[in-house]
Amino acid sequence: MSVETGRDEPDGESAFGTVSRTKDVAFRYVALVATLVGIVSLALLLANVAADAVGWLDWQFLTSPPHPNPFEAGIFPALVGSIALMLLIALITFPLGVGAAIYLEEYASDGLLTRFIQINIANLAGVPSVVYGLLGLGLFVGLLNLGFGTLLVAGFTISLLILPIVIITSQEAIRAVPDSQRQASYGMGATKWQTIRNVVLPRAMPGILTGTILALGRAIGETAPLIMIGAPTTVFGVPNSLFSKISAMPMQIYTWAQYPETEFQYGVVAAAAVTLLVVFLAINSIAILIRNRYQQRTEQ
C-alpha cells in the first residue's frame, strides 16, 4: 500500500513534469517555425523568380526600350526613369525631412502643438500610398497643372509619401546625440544654430543618411501613386526635363504582368523584377554600409 502510493506520487509528478516540458519544447519549435515561415516563403519565391529570369536578364534587356515582342523588350527607359525619380525625391525629402526633425528635436517645446505635429507625422506614415497618389492627382496635376505623369509630379507625390519616414528616422538620429555635447558647445559660447550645425548634425548624419536611403529604397518600389497621377504605361525614351513623362520600373512590371503571354509572365517580368530587386538591394546595402562604418567608428 505504502509502497504503491510512494511509487504513484513521483510517477504522477514526473508525468506532469514531462507533459509541461514537452509542451514547452513543442511551443519553442512552433514559435521558431512561425518565425521562419515568412522568411522561407520569400526565399522560395525569390529563388523562383531568379531561376525564371535566367536567359532573359541580359545586356539587351537592360539597354532596350519596351517592345510588344518579348524577345526584344527591354527596361531601359523605366530604369533611367526610376533613377532620375529617386534623385529628385532625395533632393526634396532630405532638406525637408532633416529640417522638420531639427525643429521637432532641437527647437520645439513640449507643448500641445508639438505633440499634435508628432501624432500627425505618425499618422501620415500610415496613410495608404494610393491615397498619396490621389493627393498628387488632385493637387499637382489638377490644381497646379504640372501635367499627367511627369517626372516633377511623380517626384513631389512620392516625396510627400516618404517624408514622414525620413522625419521619424532623422529625429531618432538627432535624439541619439548625447546632450553633454550640446552643453559643451553652449559652454564654448556657441549659439543654438552653431551648435546644431557644428555638433549635432555631424554626429547625427550617419543615422540620418541611413534612414533617408532606406526610405529611398521604399520609394523606388512605389507603384500605386504613379498609376494614380497618370504615369504612362509605356515610355520609349529617357526623361530629359522635369516635365517629361516618365516610366519607372514598378510601373513597367505592373504593365507587363498584365500581358497574357508566358514569355512575358515567366520571362520578361521575372527579369524586370530581378532588376528592380537588385537596384533595391543595392540602395539598402549602401544604407547598411553607412550604418556599419558609423558603428565601428563609435566603438573605437
Partner: protein
C-alpha cells in the same frame, strides 16, 4: 569693440531666428500635407456626392463606375477589402505573434540579430513584386489542389499576410521586451515553464502593444494596393456568406484595386467615375486614419504603464 561684438551677435541671432523659422516651416509641412490630402479628397468627393447621393454610395450593392448602367455602391468594394483583410489577418496575426514571442522570449541575442533584419525585409519588398509572385507562383501551386480562378482573393491574402508579418512581430516584440523582468522571475520562482511564462505572463502584460500592432497591420492590409490589384482581380462583388468556399477562391475587387482600375483607365477629369475615385479614396483614408489613431492610442497605454 563691444558694439561690433553686439552686432556680430545680432547677425548670429538673426540667422538663428531665420533657421528656426525655416525648420518650423518644414515641420508644419506635415500638417499642410494632411490638410491637402483631406481637401483634395473632399473637393472632388463633394462634387461626386452632388451627382450620387451619399446614401446610394454607402448602401448600394453594385459597383460599376464605367460600364452602363453605371452604379456607385461602395459595399462590394468594402466587402472585397474585408475578405483580403480577414484572410491576411488569419495568416499574419498568429504567425506574427508567435514570431514576437520567439524573438522576445526564446531566441538568443545572436539569433535575434539576424532574424529581425531578415523579417524586416518582408515588409520592404516592393509590393508590385509581391503581386507578381502571387499571380505567377502562388496561384498555380494552389490551383493544383483547389478550384481557383486565375485571379482570386486567396493568393492575394496570403501575400498581403506575409508582407504584414513584420508589422505585427516587431511592434509586439517591443511591447514584450518592455515587460519588466521581475514579472518573469516571479513566475519562474513559482516553477513555471517558459511556455507558461510566455503565454500567461508576458503576452497578457504586453496586450495593449500587441493589439496596437494588430490594428496597425490590419490598417496596412486594408490600404495595400498593388498585390490585390494584380492578383485578386477586378470583380466587385458582395460577400456571399452562403458560399464560404467561393469567398477566397474567386476574383474580388478591393477599394484600392478599384481606385487603380479607374486611375489606369482614361476617364476624363469631370466624369462621375473620376470623382468617384476620390469618394472611394476618402472612404479608405477615413478608415485607415481612424485605425492608425486607435493603434497609436492603444500603444501609448502600454508605454505609460512600464515607464
Amino acid at each position: 569693440m563691444s558694439t561690433t561684438d553686439l552686432s556680430r551677435d545680432g547677425v548670429r541671432s538673426a540667422r538663428g531666428t531665420a533657421m528656426r523659422i525655416l525648420f518650423a516651416l518644414c515641420a508644419f509641412l506635415s500638417i499642410l500635407t494632411t490638410v491637402a490630402i483631406v481637401l483634395t479628397l473632399l473637393l472632388d468627393a463633394v462634387d461626386f456626392f452632388a451627382a450620387v447621393s451619399p446614401l446610394e454610395f454607402l448602401t448600394g450593392t453594385k459597383w460599376s463606375p464605367t460600364n452602363e448602367p453605371v452604379a456607385f455602391g461602395v459595399l462590394p468594394l468594402i466587402s472585397g477589402t474585408l475578405i483580403v483583410t480577414f484572410g491576411s489577418a488569419a495568416i499574419a496575426l498568429p504567425i506574427g505573434l508567435l514570431t514576437a514571442i520567439y524573438l522576445s522570449e526564446y531566441a538568443s541575442d545572436r539569433r535575434r540579430a539576424y532574424l529581425k533584419p531578415a523579417l524586416e525585409v518582408l515588409a520592404s519588398v516592393p509590393t508590385v513584386i509581391y503581386g507578381y509572385f502571387a499571380l505567377v507562383y502562388v496561384t498555380p501551386v494552389l490551383d493544383t489542389f483547389l478550384p481557383l480562378s486565375t485571379f482570386n482573393a486567396l493568393s492575394a491574402s496570403i501575400m498581403v499576410g506575409i508582407m504584414i508579418i513584420p508589422m505585427v512581430s516587431s511592434i509586439s516584440e517591443d511591447a514584450m521586451s518592455a515587460v519588466p523582468d521581475s514579472l518573469r522571475q516571479a513566475s519562474y520562482g513559482l516553477g513555471a515553464t517558459k511556455f507558461t511564462v510566455s503565454t500567461s505572463v508576458v503576452v497578457p502584460a504586453a496586450l495593449s502593444g500587441i493589439f496596437s500592432s494588430f490594428i496597425l497591420a490590419l490598417s496596412r492590409a486594408i490600404g495595400e494596393t498593388m498585390i490585390v490589384a494584380i492578383a485578386a482581380g477586378q470583380t466587385p462583388r458582395m460577400v456571399d456568406l452562403t458560399d464560404p468556399a467561393g469567398l477566397f477562391l474567386d476574383s474580388i475587387q478591393t477599394m484600392t484595386a478599384a481606385m487603380v482600375q479607374i486611375g489606369a483607365s482614361d476617364v476624363v477629369g469631370q466624369s462621375t467615375a473620376y470623382k468617384g475615385l476620390f469618394a472611394v479614396g476618402l472612404t479608405l483614408f477615413v478608415i485607415t486614419f481612424a485605425m492608425n489613431l486607435v493603434s497609436e492610442w492603444v500603444a501609448s497605454r502600454y508605454r505609460e504603464v512600464y515607464r
